[in-house]
C-alpha cells in the first residue's frame, strides 16, 4: 500500500533501460579521464588548494548527478505521453508515493554515477579519509534536492521530445556556471553569480578534501532557497498538469 512494490519496479525499469544506463553513467566517466587524466599530478589545481583529480572527480560527479536527477523528468514526460500517469491517477497510489518513487529512482542513478566517479577518482590517485568520502557524498545528496524538484517540474511541463534539449541545456549551463569544467575565480561578477547556483555548491563539495570543510552558511542557504522555490514550482506544475485543486 505504501508504494514499496511500485518503487521497486520503478528502480528495476530504470536499470533495465540499458542505453540510458550506460550513457548516463559512462559519459561523465569518459569526460573525467579525458580531462583529469593529464592533470593527475597537479596538486594545487588553479590555486584552489585541491588536487586536480579531486576537483574533476566532484566536478564531473556534479554533472553526472545533475543529469541523473533531471532524467526523472524525462521518465515522467514519457509516462505522461503514453497516458500512464492518468492510469496511475485512478489507482490508490498517492501523489506523495508517486513522487517518492520518482525521486528515489533519480537518487539511485545519481548515487551509481557518484560511485562510478569515486572509483575512477581513486584510480587516478584520489585518496581521502573514510569520513570525508561520506561527508562529500552527503553534501552532494543534499545539493541535489533542488534538481529533483526541477526534474519533476520539467517532466510535468514538457513533452518527451522537448525535454531532451531542456535537460541538456539546463545541465550544461548549471555545470558551466557552477565550475564543473574550470574553477570559478574567488572574486568578480562570475563568482557572485555562481555562488547563487546550486551547482556551484555541488562542485564546492570537493573542499571536503581540504581537511573536512563543509559548506559555509551561504551554501546551505542557497540550496535551501532553490529547494523551496523549485518544490513550489514543481507542485504547481503537477497540479496544473493533472487539474487537481
Amino acid at each position: 500500500m505504501s508504494g514499496l512494490t511500485y518503487t521497486r519496479y520503478e528502480l528495476l525499469r530504470t536499470l533495465r533501460n540499458r542505453r540510458f544506463f550506460i550513457l548516463a553513467l559512462g559519459f561523465p566517466l569518459v569526460l573525467f579521464f579525458v580531462i583529469a587524466g593529464p592533470l593527475r599530478n597537479v596538486h594545487n589545481f588553479q590555486h584552489t588548494g585541491i588536487p586536480a583529480p579531486v576537483y574533476y572527480m566532484i566536478g564531473l560527479a556534479s554533472f553526472g548527478t545533475m543529469s541523473a536527477m533531471l532524467s526523472c523528468g524525462a521518465r515522467i514526460a514519457a509516462e505522461r505521453a503514453v497516458g500512464w500517469n492518468r492510469q496511475l491517477r485512478i489507482t490508490p497510489l498517492s501523489p506523495r508515493a508517486y513522487f517518492r518513487a520518482k525521486v528515489l529512482t533519480a537518487y539511485m542513478m545519481a548515487l551509481l554515477s557518484l560511485a562510478a566517479l569515486y572509483i575512477a577518482g581513486a584510480s587516478l590517485g584520489v585518496s581521502l579519509q573514510a569520513g570525508d568520502w561520506l561527508k562529500m557524498t552527503g553534501l552532494i545528496v543534499i545539493g541535489l534536492v533542488p534538481f529533483a524538484a526541477l526534474g519533476i517540474t520539467l517532466g510535468h511541463m514538457l513533452t518527451p521530445d522537448s525535454i531532451g534539449p531542456a535537460m541538456g541545456g539546463g545541465v550544461s549551463l548549471f555545470a558551466l556556471l557552477g565550475g564543473t569544467w574550470f574553477p570559478i575565480g574567488a572574486h568578480g561578477f562570475l563568482h557572485d553569480i555562481a555562488q547563487l547556483l546550486p551547482s556551484y555548491w555541488l562542485v564546492q563539495a570537493s573542499h571536503v578534501a581540504l581537511g573536512g570543510h563543509s559548506w559555509p552558511a551561504k551554501g546551505w542557504i542557497v540550496i535551501a532557497a532553490w529547494t523551496v522555490v523549485l518544490s513550489a514550482i514543481a507542485a504547481r506544475a503537477y497540479r496544473r498538469d493533472t487539474g487537481r485543486v
Binding site: 509516462e79 497516458g83 500512464w84 485512478i90 489507482t91 498517492s94 487539474g243
Partner: protein, 361 residues
Amino acid sequence: MSTRGRAGIELGRQAPDATKPDDFVHTRVGAANGSPGRIELDGLVKSFHGPDGPIRAVRGIDVLIAAGETVALLGPNGAGKSTTIDMLLGLLAPDSGSVSVFGRSPTDAVAQGAVGAMLQTGALIKDLSVRELVTMVASLYPAPLDVDEVLELTGVAQIAAQRTNKLSGGQTQRVRFAVALVSDPELLVLDEPTAAMDVEGRHSFWTTMREFAARGRTIVFATHYLEEADAYADRAVLMAHGRIVADGPTNEIKAMVGTRTIRATLPGADTDALAALPGVSGAERRGEAAILSCTDSDAAIRALLASYPGARDIEIAAAGLEQAFLELTGENAADRGDVEPGLGAGAEAESGAAGIRETRR
C-alpha cells in the same frame, strides 16, 4: 438488471440554453450527497478552451447507476462520453454539478481502490514484463485479485513473460484490461475498450467482462457500437452533443435508434409522397436519389417497389448512431458547427480506432 423496471426510456428535451441543466427533464431522485448503493452524476457541465472559443463537451447530464448494473454510454464521437467518464473517475473536475460513486467523491473512491478503469487512450510503460506490470498495479490496491488468475482471465497468461513494449495492439488492450481488472473494483469503467481489437479479441473481451459483471460488479462502458451496447449492457445512456438524448433498457434503445435507411435512385418522386409510404418515417432528396428513414424497412421496400417500379440502385443500410441521434434530437449537426462535417452516419460505423476521436484536452 435492477433498473429494468424503471420508467422506461426517458427522452431528453431540447434545452434552449444548455448551460442550465434544469432545462433538462430527467428523473431526479434523492439529494446530491450521494447514496452508497449507487453512482450519481448530477447536473454535470464541462467546457474546454478551444481555438474557436469554448468547446462545451458536456452540457448538463444527470445519470443514476445502481450497484450491479452494466450501463453503456452510447454515442457518436464527440458526444462527450470520454469527458463524462473522466469526471466519473475524478480525472477532470466538472465546471458545475457533482459526482458520487457509492456515496463517496470519485477521488475518495479511487483512493480506496474501489475503481478500475481502462481509459480510451493510453499505452503501457516500458521495461517491464506483462506479469510485472500487472503485479505492480495490483500492489497499489488493498484487496487485489490473484495476478495469475487475472492474466488467465484476460487471456494474457501466454505472454506474461513478454516485455510490454513488444506486444501487438490487441495484446496491449488485453493487458490494459488486466490492469483495470486486477484491483477487483466495485466499479469498472471502460472507455471504448474494443477500439484496437480484432473480432476475436472483442468476443473474448466481452466474455470476460460478462464474467466479471456476474460477480455483482458495476460496469460502465463507453462505445459507439449499438451492437455492443445491445449485447452487453442492461441499459444504455445515449449521448449526443454533450447531452443525454435517451436513457433506458438496451432493447428499447435499440428499437429507437436501430432504424434503417433505404436509398434509391428515383428521379422526380415527391418526398411528401415517399414519406407517406408504410414503414417510412421521413424522406429526403439528394440529387436524383431519395433517402427514406424507415421504422420498418421490410414494409417500406415492398411499398416503394409497388408504387415506384422504376426505383433502382437500391441500398438498405442500418442507420449509424449519429443519424439516429439527429432524428431523436431533431437537429442538424452541420448547422451547429460542432460536429465534423464528414462524420456521416455510415462513415463512422466501422471506422473503429481510425475514427475521429472525441475532443479532449
